[in-house]
């Protein structure tokens, strides 16, 4: 296995008396979408900006593509693409001018701005001023700017915050497209759904500390193995059929069966077919990253 593209070891960053990042360590592997997830103020952006070389950590060690982000910042910026949270451009800069400017700043690449604008659906906005773009169009432009130098690692900070669900899904497809081109993506989000659908691996961060790192599936399996089956049946024998399960609650014809582990759903279906019980509704409730977060931190990510 190749060595990680990004290695972060024990970084700490304070602003005056506020400790933004306590002690953060993680690796990002080549070709994956890695997400740093946590509530606002958890230290996501600070951590990411230290990795990008635009902030200097107080202590700890960071390596990106074998480079030191502070010492080798200009060499690094040639090889990475960055989208910043809540950044703007000049109100009256035209889309093509921004792309042209960015292209002129990097040493290596032939100009690919027009292809990028086309891939990101911005061709008909080429001559539009930045201030006239919608939120989704602005974010797509920022993705174009982050990709203009054909970077090896792409950093996306709160990429879809403030976008409507449709624009958000379109952006997710674009991010998957970036991975398909063989690039590594490091993103931050406070949207659990986004992390779950997009990320190969996630690190949960809170109060400047990493709580756990893994694939979304394994995090759920590890921290929230509980499963719940909810079904509706008018069959009088149903209660007897479910007697073997430890936790069953009944509300009229509606049953809720709880258990631990992947087998619960199969076991319930097994009981139903064994006793030939008809059901009019059947659904399973699976825990999500949201539940993992709740369990690990004791509060919802939105609090």
């Amino acid at each position: 296995m190749t060595s990680p593209v990004i290695q972060v070891q024990g970084i700490r960053k304070t602003y005056g008396r506020l400790v933004a990042v306590h002690d953060v360590s993680f690796d990002v592997n080549d070709g994956e979408i890695f997400g740093l997830i946590g509530p606002n103020g958890a230290g996501k952006s600070t951590t990411m900006e230290c990795v990008e070389g635009i902030r200097t950590p107080d202590s700890g060690k960071i390596t990106v593509l074998g480079l030191d982000p502070i010492r080798d910042v200009y060499a690094l910026q040639e090889r990475i693409g960055v989208q910043l949270q809540q950044a703007q451009l000049q109100k009256r800069i035209k889309v093509w001018e921004a792309v042209r400017l960015w292209a002129s700043l990097y040493r290596k690449q032939p100009y690919v701005g027009d292809q990028l604008l086309e891939q990101l659906g911005l061709t008909d906005k080429r001559n539009a001023w930045f201030m006239t773009l919608s939120g989704g169009q602005k974010q797509r432009l920022f993705i174009a700017l982050a990709l203009i130098n054909n970077p090896e690692v792409v950093f996306l900070d709160e990429l879809t915050t403030g976008l409507d669900p449709q624009a958000r899904r379109a952006i997710w497809d674009l991010v998957r497209g970036i991975r398909e081109r063989g690039k590594t993506v490091f993103l931050t989000t406070h949207l659990m759904e986004e992390a779950e659908r997009l990320c190969d691996r996630v690190a949960i961060i809170e109060y400047g500390r990493i709580i756990d790192v893994d694939t979304p599936q394994r995090l759920v399996a590890r921290h929230c193995p509980e499963r719940e089956v909810i079904l509706v049946s008018d069959d009088g024998r149903a209660a007897d059929a479910f007697a073997r399960f430890a936790s069953v609650t009944r509300d009229g014809s509606r049953y809720s069966i709880r258990g631990v582990g992947e087998e619960l759903v199969a076991d319930v279906i097994g009981s139903l077919s064994e006793h030939q019980i008809k059901v009019s509704d059947f659904r399973t409730v699976l825990p999500s990253l949201e539940d993992v977060f709740l369990k690990l931190t004791g509060h919802s990510i939105r609090d």
Partner: protein, 250 residues
Amino acid sequence: MLRGLGELTWLEIKIFLREPMGAIGTIFVPVLAFLLLGRFTSRNPVVPPVSMAGLFGEGGVPVLVSILISISAVLSLVTIISIYRESGILKRLRATPLRPPTILTAHVLVKLLLTALTMILMVLAGRRYFTVGHNVPLFSFAVALLLSTWSILSIGFVIASIVPTARFAQPLGALVLYPMVGLSGLFVPINALPPALRLVTRVLPLTYSVSLLEGIWRGESWTAHGSDVVALIAVFVVCTAISSRVFRWE
């Protein structure tokens, strides 16, 4: 080091001219006001044009106008820099291979070019009403004005470093710069001021701008104003050193 400077400067000029108050406010309005004033004074026999200059001493009006052009450029710089900081543009530009000084130098160049352009338009527009003496070295005067603007722009960066938000930029800049005009020796000769104020004028950079511009307008040599040039360069060095320490990118 300077990669992207040309591209960024050109872009910032275009963007500035697209601002509603950009080109109109800083170039056309002053030139238009100058033209209307010229028309009025040349038709009014009570105030013959020559006596306008007499109000301030030789070269007074052109120097005053030049200083005002220069200050409006500095105020515009302070406003733009603070807006760029507030909306994250500076931070975004910094996360590229652009060197931080390049980003700021582009804005200085834009302001110097616009100052030069406004001055050329003023000279062209004013030719009908105000005769510029043949002995006035316009080219040297332009160089002196750009040197002076360049120096005052560095004060602008210090102001831009400390203004909390973009809304305070213009008023704070005006509060710092306009009183300097009053004490620069343009309105009241420095020797006529009380000793305490005279001391104050010594540390105000505009005093040296005015002294240099008036001298060059009168046809004096650069060497006669070497101390003014040194003072303006010193202001630039000190202010640049201060703002490189306290300048905030976000």
